[in-house]
């Protein structure tokens, strides 16, 4: 009986907390830009799709090109992007990927500590996606609009 109570209490608390979902994303005031390779015919991506891309769940673009993720660790853009779009902290994102790596589920995406490196990576990989705080060369990457 006592075990049953705790189970119900635990799941009840979980459901109660579930109303506190990730705050709605707002483009206004955001200091990051989501970028893809210039040849990608994509102008907008919604938040859910970006989450699936950066968490390795969507491994191919609609036309079949493999997705290559570049994660920018420079602050404050990293915290802002991770919190607003991925609903987790940069540390939680890092743990997510390390968990996949050490359990044999996936390889790590590339991690860079500068906007320039992320711009260069995306420019040189047709299926790449990343985020930066500055404008990259518009001839080599395309900035996509993030939609809720």
């Amino acid at each position: 009986m006592r075990g049953g109570f705790w189970i119900r209490a635990g799941f009840g608390l979980l459901l109660w907390l579930s109303v506190l979902i990730c705050p709605a994303w707002s483009e206004e005031g955001s200091r990051y830009r989501v970028i893809v390779h210039s040849q990608q015919q994509i102008n907008t991506l919604n938040q859910s799709t970006i989450q699936r891309l950066f968490l390795g769940k969507m491994k191919r673009w609609p036309e079949g090109l493999p997705v290559e993720v570049a994660i920018n660790t420079i602050e404050p853009v990293s915290s802002e992007f991770c919190r607003e779009i991925l609903c987790r902290t940069p540390n939680q994102l890092s743990v997510y990927w390390r968990r996949a790596l050490y359990t044999g589920s996936a390889m790590l995406p590339v991690f860079y500590n500068s906007d320039e490196e992320v711009c260069a990576y995306v420019a040189n990989h047709a299926g790449a996606i990343g985020f930066v705080s500055v404008a990259c060369d518009p001839l080599s990457v395309r900035t996509v609009e993030v939609q809720p």
Binding site: W6, S18, L20, C22, R52, L101
Partner: protein, 409 residues
């Protein structure tokens, strides 16, 4: 199993020649690893090691290699060394090693030795760096019997299915055998149990003795368990996920007595299921899992166990700062769900039927590749203890402290 190995070999022979020279090794190959060193100190009972006097025999080390020669194809393996008390693997073992082919996000195939999905965390049990506490909750992720659920040798189908505004679902179906090393501590434990059974049987009056139990045995052999199972994780929101996993297994222990091979123990887990829920925010993580394992165990023709066990826990983690994690755990296990106080087994102590664990943990992330953990557990109940670690009577109330340093690269 031989067919699976043959399929694996054929797969390699077909695939490897096609990957030719046009491989950018810098992008396609990754090498990573981790190392951890822990210290265990327990009071009243030994836990995993001879820990009552303190034990530094708690070292883990792993090195993995992944190679993605084609977009849909990945080959990977992880070598693992563990020195944990008497759980000394005594060698570098293959933790996982697989060929993965995933032509679509929603469908993929893995062949080889693959981490077993059971609950939300079973696959991560050796990667302590990514866990909030040193050990996973023991009621569901029993470390003393880790060989039974660590990995499977076989084939798995997996994928991720997008559900629009209802999130997405990860699934994993698998068939094969558990990877059960001959030097496993469970082998030694089985031998000790059998010796005790023989002694107890010989002490009974002739009319009450089980004639199927031999007077002695020369060797004991536990074959790999045949297993099949499925796991689903529904990621309803980025912060909220629910899981359900199911496992079926069959195992057999044979003994050789005077040149005659006898089936000593047959265990069938008709269904072990785990229901899971996890919710996290920037500052909180709440996880709860509930599990039952409906199993039948026959020992020399007599039913030794028939019915479900019950396990559940709630773990709450608070992150006051990105570098600090404070964890609180309550964890319960009952050997028999419908006989929690062992009323039907008056020959054993009641507290042998349960294990209730309250744990408090502290984790400090020194940087992105190093963390320190310190935790304390107070336990009521002597269930789940292996006989070889506690020669004397197992105490009902006991506790342990564990500290660990982990690094990754």
């Amino acid at each position: 199993m031989n067919r699976l190995l043959m399929l694996f070999a054929v797969w390699c022979l077909l695939v490897l020649p096609t990957v030719g020279g046009a491989v950018d090794l810098y992008d396609a190959v990754q090498i990573h690893g981790f190392f951890s060193q822990g210290y265990l100190h327990s009071h009243n009972n030994n836990f995993l090691a001879h820990s009552r006097s303190g034990s530094l025999k708690f070292t883990d080390c792993a090195l993995n290699l992944n190679w993605q020669p084609l977009d849909a194809l990945r080959l990977g393996a992880q070598a693992f060394y563990r020195n944990l008390g008497d759980y000394n693997e005594n060698a570098v073992v293959l933790d996982w090693g697989l060929v993965e082919y995933q032509p679509k996000d929603w469908i993929g195939l893995r062949l080889g030795k693959i981490k077993m999905p059971l609950g939300l965390y079973n696959e991560t049990r050796d990667a302590s760096f990514v866990l909030p506490m040193v050990f996973l909750p023991q009621s569901i992720y029993d470390e003393s019997r880790r060989d039974l659920t660590l990995a499977y040798l076989g084939a798995g189908l997996f994928g991720n299915v997008a559900l629009g505004r209802f999130g997405d679902v990860d699934y994993h179906l698998f068939w094969g055998e558990s990877s059960y090393p001959d030097e496993s501590i469970l082998q030694e434990s089985s031998e000790r149990s059998l010796e005790n059974t023989i002694v107890r049987n010989s002490q009974l009056s002739p009319s009450r003795q089980n004639p199927l139990i031999p007077d002695s045995f020369s060797t004991l052999d536990r074959a790999n368990d045949k297993i099949r199972g499925a796991a689903l994780v529904w990621n309803l929101l980025p912060e909220l996920r629910f899981g359900a996993s199911l496992l079926h297994s069959e195992s057999e222990i044979k003994v050789d007595s005077d040149g005659v091979s006898l089936v000593a123990v047959e265990t069938t887990v008709h269904g072990r299921y785990v229901l899971s829920a996890e919710y996290h925010t920037e500052q909180w993580l709440l996880a709860a899992e509930y599990s039952e394992s409906d199993r039948t165990m026959e020992s020399f023709g007599e039913t030794a166990l028939d019915g479900p066990s019950q396990s559940w826990y709630v773990m709450l983690c608070y992150f006051p700062h990105e570098q600090w994690t404070i964890s609180l755990l309550y964890d319960e296990f009952y050997r028999e769900k419908h006989d929690k106080h062992s009323d039907s087994r008056p020959q054993v102590r009641a507290d042998n039927g349960w294990r209730k664990d309250i744990g408090l943990g502290l984790r400090y992330d020194v940087n992105s590749w190093c963390n320190l953990k310190l935790e304390y557990h107070y336990i009521d109940g002597s269930a789940m203890q292996l006989n070889i670690l506690n020669e004397e009577d197992v105490k009902r109330y006991w506790s342990y402290v564990v500290a660990q340093l982990a690094v990754v690269f």
